[in-house]
């Protein structure tokens, strides 16, 4: 098992198919964050304040589309979600 150099991570992406990531510290709007996504280095700019442990959109997510975490559907977007926005109960509903 190869181990990349340990770096302080800000976002935790749980699965390569996910369109959200978990913030490992509270983020302010307008921060530019680098993250690893499917082995590529990517960036996003935060659009909202996002508390520790909450989710940020890694991509634009259209109304009614699935929110994916752990490679599984965890809910549906109830609004258009833009990359860098806070993803939570205000813009997501349970899919069931």
């Amino acid at each position: 098992m190869k181990e990349k150099k340990s770096v302080s991570k800000i976002l935790m992406v749980m699965h390569k198919d996910d369109n959200v990531a978990v913030c490992l510290r509270a983020l302010n709007p307008g921060e530019t964050i680098s993250f690893q996504y499917a082995d590529a280095n990517m960036q996003l700019k935060t659009m909202d304040p996002i508390p520790l442990g909450h989710k940020v959109a890694l991509k634009d997510i259209q109304l009614g589309k699935s929110i994916i975490k752990y490679g599984e559907i965890i809910g549906k977007a109830t609004k258009e979600i833009t990359k860098g926005q806070h993803v939570h109960t205000h813009n997501v509903t349970d899919f069931s």
Binding site: M1, E3, K4, S6, V7, S8, K9, M12, M14, V22, C23, L24, P51, L52, G53, H54, K55, I67, K69, Y70, E72, I73, I74, G75, V87, H88, T89, V92, T93, D94, F95, S96
Partner: protein, 387 residues
């Protein structure tokens, strides 16, 4: 990868990672007497019961199966069953003895006094501890190692650090031929379809989905609000969990990714075929841990977000957390600090390897905090009213 561990051979083919003498109280009236015997004899563990003979039917079956399962756990080399009278002690003792475990029963009303019960219990316990302490550990393949995976006090860290790391260790054990047992039916609601997809056949998938349906019906009947609409809780939402599926997916991660072989009822003995199993239990830690121990796991890995001190008396329990604040607050209780996943970008693979290595160390005899300080409790589920 290591493929063996050191344990104690049992007559029924099971392998213990400890060599305990279990003192089992089969009625609340004699719990204190059982406790005195354990206080006075090193090498014994205490299993108490809160309800005893007032239970009937379904609840009586659960309780009987649980006490017998605890007495037959591979970590138990000998057992004493104590109760108020013969009819409540002897059947349990006889059932435990069927797998070859040395067992004795004590009926208070026959011996007639507390001091006589303590003396009788001590004599047997001392004899058994002497015998068992002379048994040597031998090397066995990991196909004989069965672990339970538990989480409690879950928070934002659980689903992104502790649980995935424990899940990685679960996969390592399953790939080495071992057994992993997941429990807590209420905690899989919302992700049961994901687990059902991993079932080895449609019978097992249906069994899992029916187990969830029964639990939901029971919750409503018992006066709880609907589990689906009351979860995630306000605290969960504040911590960043948005939906029930998200919460439950985070919980099932700790059992790894392998096929689900079967679904067991509460305290039902694990089949001999190794692999990944689910056991129906309630969510509170003591009840769940008691079900796992009665099912025959030798060890539990317990991931806690906010902290939780408890373990079952017969199963050494490795406490882990990925929450850096909890590491600072409850250092004493923790056996493994996984907070580097969050603070230093430690990979899940590396963290999982650490958990797996700790499992082998504890299997080989390394003591966990809850064992050293004896932070243990056995609690058998009671479902519905008892008379």
């Amino acid at each position: 990868m290591k493929t063996e561990f050191l344990g104690y051979q049992r007559k029924d083919g099971g392998i213990g990672i400890r060599n305990y003498v279990a003192v089992i109280s089969a009625m609340d009236t004699v719990n204190p007497i059982a406790g005195k015997i354990v206080d006075l004899v090193k090498g014994t563990v205490l299993i108490t019961d809160l309800f005893g003979r007032k239970l009937a039917g379904f609840n009586h079956e659960i309780r009987f199966r649980s006490l017998v399962g605890l007495g037959q756990n591979p970590n138990v080399g000998a057992a004493i069953v104590i109760s108020l009278h013969r009819p409540s002690a002897m059947p349990i003792a006889e059932a435990i003895g069927k797998n070859g475990t040395d067992v004795e029963f004590i009926a208070f009303q026959e011996l007639g006094s507390t001091l006589k019960c303590i003396e009788h219990g001590m004599r047997f316990a001392v004899k058994m501890v002497k015998k068992l302490s002379d048994q040597k550990r031998q090397s066995f393949p990991l196909t004989n190692l069965k672990i339970g995976v538990e989480c409690g006090g879950s928070d934002f860290s659980s689903g992104i650090s502790g649980n995935p790391a424990v899940g990685n260790a679960s996969d390592r054990l399953l790939e080495s031929g071992g057994t992993v047992l997941l429990s807590e039916t209420p905690e899989i609601i919302g992700a049961e379809h994901v687990l059902a997809k991993r079932a080895v056949n449609s019978r097992v998938a249906k069994k899992l989905l029916n187990t969830v349906k029964k639990m939901e019906a029971l919750a409503i009947k018992a006066g709880f609000s609907d589990i689906r609409s009351s979860n995630p809780s306000a605290d969960n939402i504040k911590g960043g969990l948005t939906t029930l599926a998200e919460k439950s997916l985070g919980a099932i991660l700790k059992a790894g990714t392998k096929p689900l072989i079967d679904v067991l009822d509460y305290a039902e003995p694990l089949p001999t075929q190794p692999g990944f199993y689910f056991m129906h239990t309630a969510a509170p830690a003591c009840e769940s841990l008691t079900g796992l121990a009665a099912g025959g796991v030798q060890l539990v890995v317990f991931n806690t977000g906010l902290g939780n001190p408890i373990a079952n008396p017969v199963t050494p329990t490795i406490k882990v957390t990925g929450n850096p604040h909890t590491v600072k607050k409850s250092t004493d209780d923790l056996d493994l600090d996984l907070s580097a996943i969050i603070t230093k970008g430690l990979s899940i693979e590396k963290a999982g390897k650490t958990v797996f290595e700790e499992i082998l160390k504890v299997a080989n005899g390394k003591m966990t905090f809850s064992e050293i300080v004896e932070l243990t409790q056995s609690t058998i589920s009671v479902v519905g009213p008892s008379v």
